[in-house]
């Protein structure tokens, strides 16, 4: 039968697509092209963990859920309904549920972006274009706020300005002067904007200084020789060249702020100042998941439209951002008499943004009775106390506290697991994308690996609640497990690690692998002996950064943690919610120290590996 079949179609030049021989042939081909197999598997996996959850919450948002029956007893679970949309957009409750948080989020986003960008721009200009003193040290110090969790500043702010509004102890200001900070200083819009701006300026600074360093001063000097004044040169030549970098800094900062949870929760919730992210959290806690899903979808739509607007405005211009490469030279303008004053200003700035929060945290963690900042009140109880029922609900100090140590262990486990899986996934995605260049599969894979970038953290968390709160086929319900934390962290970091992977594989010339292939070395051995050793340095730096990001993450996982899978950041948040300031300060300080130590290692390693500015991309 088989022979007969062969004989009949032997005359045909091209076998039909569905003929058995063609299927055999195609499977042979697939075996011959490992990058296609990997690409297909990765694409399926990523679709399952990125696209399916998104579709799932769209579906959930448009159908009746069991928890809706309290409001709509006539509803049939699973049936199509506009109930959630109606509730969010078109009911009396919508103002509190949607419009106010939207307005707050947008106001907060704009204000933080404007301040963070202006500060970041000035700093970038000073560091790249002037002869300010101590550049080396400043360069390292300026990015420290970025390494810390974004809400560290908020906790420090509370130590400083907490007033008697919500009960409990008062802050350092009240202790020193006896004056109560007014509500608008202690809580709500103003402190949220200030503390977030003092975190995100570092992000803008990194992006803009990177771009500024590539603008050739000769372009400006050419302007000078044609008679332009200094300000005109900046306006006409330098700024347009920087626009793409500034544009993406604006959009990326804005999206991150929309999705950030910690700071608005710490400083906003006490005065019922809701943003999108805290409202999503509140809705989930109130078991109104449908509302949360609609809000998360709106957040994603907002993020996508900002990216789109940015690419429309800036995209066309990007083409004439020329990095000359040859004859490249950058000149530093002399600050003259202002050189020392500017340097002192910078030092002051660093004291406020870096040193002060850490000192406040330390001090807070050393006070026995909260609110009393006198020397006689200092204690190491919250670091090494055994647990005294009269203090802080009997919670022992850090080094004896099983809950804290367990959460620390979980954080480190989460960091490790995320780093390892991200490293492997990034490498495989990079391999499939680079080796498959030109195929459609490669393009799809690259886009889908980038997709988590546009999901604001809190929205991705909401998506995962929708997806994994029940079992799907063979996969058990992941909600409340440690696995889901690893999964979401890996996915959120994927845009970054897959880029690292792509860059690493691009550096390895194809012929190095082909030489091994021709010599009879199979795919797995090639990866082990050639690809992995050669891409190691970039991968390790990328993995360490993933480790740090995972350790400090709160917005992404706040909706998914429970006592069963508690990590340090979640624990800090719950201490703060219970007004246990010393514990939260001590744990935060410990976390920050761990992160900074690892960051320093990463910096040293990535410098020696020649992968500078990895944390920007």
């Amino acid at each position: 039968m088989w022979v007969k079949f062969m004989a009949i179609s032997a005359g045909n030049n091209k076998p039909k697509f569905w003929s058995i021989r063609n299927i055999f042939y195609q499977s042979y081909r697939l075996k011959n092209r490992p990058e296609l197999v990997i690409g297909l598997v990765a694409l399926c996996f990523l679709s399952f963990v990125v696209l399916v959850p998104l579709l799932q919450i769209i579906k959930d948002a448009l159908t009746f859920q069991s928890y809706d029956l309290a409001y709509e007893p006539d509803g049939v679970v699973g049936e199509f309904t506009l109930f959630h949309l109606d509730r969010v957009f078109n009911q009396p409750i919508s103002a509190a549920l949607f419009y106010k948080p939207l307005l707050n989020s947008l106001k907060m986003g704009f204000a933080v972006t404007v301040i963070a960008l202006s500060v970041g721009f000035c700093l970038a200009w000073l560091m790249v274009r002037t002869n300010v003193y101590f550049k080396g040290i400043f360069g390292g110090m300026l990015v420290i706020p970025y390494m810390m969790p974004s809400w560290v500043m908020a906790i420090a702010w509370l130590s400083l300005f907490k007033n008697d509004r919500i009960g409990g102890s008062e802050g350092l200001l009240t202790y020193l002067t006896g004056v109560q900070a007014p509500d608008w200083v202690a809580y709500g819009f103003f402190p949220i904007v200030i503390t977030l701006a003092l975190h995100y300026y570092a992000y803008a600074y990194l992006l803009i200084s990177g771009a500024l360093a590539t603008v050739d001063s000769e372009l400006e000097e050419a302007g000078a020789t044609s008679g332009m004044g200094k300000w005109k040169r900046i306006r006409v030549i330098t700024m347009p060249l920087l626009m793409p970098a500034i544009g993406s800094a604006i959009v990326l900062t804005f999206i991150r702020i929309l999705g950030t949870f910690g700071t608005p929760a710490l400083l906003g919730l006490p005065v019922r100042f809701f943003t999108f992210s805290t409202q999503i959290y509140a809705s989930i806690n109130a078991r109104n998941q449908g509302d949360a899903f609609v809000l998360a979808l709106v957040l994603i739509v907002l993020a996508i439209s900002f990216i789109w607007i940015n690419s429309r405005i800036i995209g066309v211009r990007k083409s004439y951002v020329t990095m000359t490469g040859k004859g490249f030279r950058k000149s530093e303008s002399d600050l003259g008499k202002m050189r020392w004053p500017v340097t002192v200003l910078l030092i002051l700035f660093l004291c406020i943004t870096v040193a002060m929060p850490l000192i406040l945290l330390l001090w807070e963690s050393l006070t026995l009775i909260p609110g009393d900042y006198s020397l006689s009140n200092l204690t190491t109880y919250f670091w090494k106390g055994q647990g005294d029922v009269s203090l802080a609900y009997g919670e022992p100090g850090i080094i004896h506290n099983k809950g804290i140590l367990g959460a620390l262990l979980n954080s480190i486990k989460l960091g490790f697991a995320a780093a390892i899986f991200n490293g492997i996934l990034g490498l495989l995605v990079g391999y499939a994308v680079v080796r498959g260049r030109g195929d459609r599969l490669s393009k799809w894979l690259e886009s889908i690996a980038f997709a988590p970038y546009i999901f604001p953290s809190i929205a991705l968390g909401a998506i995962y609640i929708g997806m994994f709160s029940t079992s799907i086929g063979p996969i058990p319900a992941l909600y409340g497990t440690f696995t889901i934390l690893i999964l979401i962290t890996v996915i959120k970091n994927l845009p970054f690690t897959s880029r690292t992977g792509i860059a690493a594989i691009l550096q390895i010339h194809q012929s190095l692998e082909e030489a091994a292939r021709v010599q009879g070395i199979g795919w797995f051995r090639r990866m082990l002996r050639i690809i992995i050793p050669l891409s190691m340095s970039g991968l390790v730096a990328g993995m360490l950064l993933t480790f740090i990001t995972a350790m400090r993450e709160l917005s992404l996982i706040i909706l998914l943690i429970s006592p069963g899978n508690m990590v340090l950041t979640g624990l800090i948040f719950s201490y703060q919610e219970q007004d246990m300031a010393q514990h939260s300060s001590a744990v935060t300080l410990a976390l920050v120290l761990i992160i900074i130590t690892i960051s320093v290692i990463v910096r040293v390693m990535s410098r020696s590996a020649g992968v500078g500015r990895l944390n920007v991309t």
Binding site: K14, Y25, K31, S511, G520, I530, L534
Partner: protein, 363 residues
């Protein structure tokens, strides 16, 4: 052992067809060179033999074993083809020592340790790199790296050797040396060799047989002698030879061909033809005299380029430029007068329409 057969191979990238219905047979132990300008499909052809590219159509056999057939649905991956390939970039693994580079594939094949050590020693001896086993590729010169790539190949003892422009990254002097050692390698290993290059000197000096490719097609195949002396068409005539062949287009008239400034008498079998004709003559085949001779063409010298053993002389007959190549180191002032002569049996004749050679000269 070591025969290669390609049958009806077609390969395209997107809409661009880079290899058009190629048939090719390489005999056991033969040294075949595929020569052509960049983008002619020669490297793609080599990579299809190695299995690194997949043809759209056709069949490839190595040693009578089908390794690719679109119709029968056979694709043998490069890992299982057991051939040796030298890359233009050498493709040495930068994180491994010379010894590891050479022995990695042997270890993967589970060859005994003593055998591996023997092969390593032997391979290093053959390329004269004994004592370099523990160096890293970055600590070697370009020529030494090239020899490590060769040693890696020797150690595997393949029956088929493929070389993709292996000398193009070397400087001129090293290239001449390595050329000789590659020829020696082929002789010692008695392996069937396919060598891809755009350098005609490599093709002429190394090969038993040369294939000239252009735009995905074979233009001519034959011995280096035939390719040089009997170019099948104008493309081959112009591509081979440095300085390039002189081509004159003219009208057949009264047993002669009349170009704008010169007249060349035709051999008898062409004298009766009519219409237009292109005459080709290699620079070194033109006779030159410093004194006037009867019936010889008078020319005026332009730029003179002595290269040591030879001298390239550019002359003009009226407005027609002609290149001459003479033995020895010649210096002549510009605008000197010379007289040149074309011998019948040194001329090639091409059809201006088809570009084909009308009569291969008998050289």
């Amino acid at each position: 052992m070591g025969q290669i057969l390609l049958n009806g191979i077609v390969k395209s990238y997107g809409k661009e067809v880079v290899v058009k219905n190629l048939d090719l047979k390489v005999e056991t132990g033969e040294f075949l060179t595929i020569l052509g300008p960049s983008g002619c499909g020669k490297t793609t052809t080599l990579r299809m033999v190695a299995g690194l590219e997949e043809p759209d159509q056709g069949m490839i056999k190595l040693d009578d074993k089908v390794v690719f057939s679109r119709n029968d649905g056979v694709v043998v991956p490069p890992e299982a083809r057991h051939l040796g390939l030298i890359f233009q970039s050498y493709a040495l693994w930068p994180h491994m020592t010379v010894a590891k580079n050479i022995t990695l594939a042997l270890k993967e094949q589970k060859i005994s340790k003593s055998e591996i050590a023997d092969r390593l020693k032997n391979a290093l001896e053959m390329v004269q790199l004994t004592g370099y086993a523990e160096r890293y590729p970055s600590e070697l010169s370009g020529g030494q790296q090239q020899r490590v790539a060769v040693a890696r190949l020797i150690a595997l003892r393949p029956k088929i050797l493929l070389m993709d422009e292996p000398l193009s990254n070397l400087d001129a002097k090293l290239r001449t040396e390595m050329r000789a050692s590659l020829k020696r390698l082929h002789r010692d290993l008695t392996a069937t060799t396919v060598y891809v290059t755009h350098d005609q000197i490599e093709a002429l000096t190394l090969s038993d047989r040369v294939i000239i490719m252009n735009e995905g097609r074979i233009m001519q195949e034959g011995s280096p002698y035939d390719i040089y002396h009997h170019p099948a068409n104008i493309f081959v005539a112009e591509f081979i030879g440095d300085p390039g062949i002189n081509l004159f287009e003219g009208k057949i008239d009264n047993g002669k061909i009349k170009c704008s400034d010169i007249e060349i008498p035709l051999p008898e079998n062409f004298a009766k033809n009519k219409g237009r004709l292109i005459v080709g003559v290699r620079p070194e085949k033109i006779e030159v005299s410093e004194t006037k001779k009867n019936g010889w063409q008078e020319v005026v010298t332009g730029i003179i380029q002595p290269t040591g053993a030879n001298t390239i002389i550019e002359v003009k007959a009226g407005e027609t430029p002609i290149t001459l190549l003479q033995n020895g180191f010649i210096t002549l002032p510009e605008n000197s007068k010379l007289w040149i002569n074309f011998e019948h049996d040194t001329l090639s004749f091409f059809d201006p329409e088809t570009q084909e050679n009308l009569r291969n000269n008998v050289g």
